[in-house]
Symmetry: D2
């Protein structure tokens, strides 16, 4: 079973919409936070550290896929359970399961790549092969 980390979110009033439930893009936001927390808990420095030593500016998304089962609202505490379920040559796939107690609220995958600034054009970013040492920290 792959390494799994837990990221806790206290849902706030401003996270909710006029229907009184979490506005769904916030779940993507929390999965993104859970992804960074995953790497940091595995011992990977934050991106602003990696940018200096290796030029890595982050792990932008290539694809997301989320299913929503139950809504959440403010005042509730939820948990994002995060793992990496597949490592490919230039990408990896996260699985995030968002729970409130025993209820699964939503579940999603993210395909991401490690990127650097494109040496030919600093305004662009460019995927690099998966850094083996980072992968070694995470499995």
């Amino acid at each position: 079973m792959p390494r799994t980390t837990t990221y806790t979110v206290n849902v706030t009033f401003g996270d909710c919409d006029p229907a009184g439930i979490v506005f769904f893009p916030n779940f993507s936001r929390w999965m993104d936070s859970a992804s960074l927390a995953f790497f940091m808990q595995c011992g990977v420095p934050p991106w602003r550290g990696l940018v200096k030593t290796r030029g890595i500016v982050g792990t932008p998304l290539l694809e997301i896929h989320t299913k929503f089962f139950k809504p959440a609202t403010y005042g509730e505490t939820i948990e994002v359970h995060t793992s990496i379920e597949e490592w490919a040559a230039k990408t990896f796939r996260h699985r995030h399961v968002v729970r409130r107690g025993n209820d699964v609220l939503c579940e999603g995958t993210e395909v991401r790549a490690f990127v650097i600034r494109d040496p030919a054009n600093a305004d662009r970013i460019k995927a690099i092969p998966l850094p083996e040492d980072i992968k070694a920290l995470c499995v």
Copy 2:
């Protein structure tokens, strides 16, 4: 070909992350805005009107799936092209194509349902059969 509406977004500084590109959950946020704009351009009242006449509080998400091809940054203008590619008994599926000029930046689907407050518990929401009159306005 299904009816398609266009929703324009001017990307702002605050929409972008430390890598200098749009923080991806904002694309979900803009697709959500494009969905509401789609219905309003079809002649459907905003949800806060429908909640009074029919109890409908919105069209929350059951599933999202997005592929990201190119990043965007602040100062750019992008367009979300939105249609409904499938109507089922209780759900419908949006397709959103996000373009900057001729470039497709990302593309995604959303499965949504029309919901009312659950009569048995006002804290809960409940999907209803697709309202035929609303569907008739949108095809």
Copy 3:
């Protein structure tokens, strides 16, 4: 000295802008969360409870004033220290001090009122005199 509560924030990548620092409206967002946390720690139910028993839909802002001293970035943990420094007939004033360890990052006040839906027009909200029982819980 007025009652003071502490609200902890783990700053995320998506909270930061292309300069790599927290996009400032997020500090307002966290102060808002700290305000709700203040009331809940004082024993006041969340607004969605109060709306049912008393019609209170929240405590919207009449005025905010914030000074920013130092930036923060992702991966950092910050604390919002919140109190109510003045109670008036229909409004109250929060003070929020945002700290990272011993550093004060920003400091602000918020003037808020308790509001209900306007009985004459459900689309509008209306300030009410400060509920004495709620105040009694908070001092």
Copy 4:
């Protein structure tokens, strides 16, 4: 009278909170967008251009002060009217008036400085004297 620019916002569902009105930090977000739009309409390049030619990474906030008069909700179009009411040695002060038709919804000031990365520590930012050529474009 100082130069004034207008920035238009279409309020979306996700901008609103469970009370059905704009969550107030979004007004700060829109004022920030209006500030960048002000400079760009005056002929100043976006920050990601200035960072390359002059090292300027943006104009972070030193102080904000906003008064809220009327709420707004989704489906409405509002305008932010932005000017610079004072230029000091190292800072300037924006005034933003947010209108919906003839109604003033809120009004605020922002004190900002132009900053560069601190040459002594790239993780820090540092205010610089107000660039006279940029000021000349804006008055």
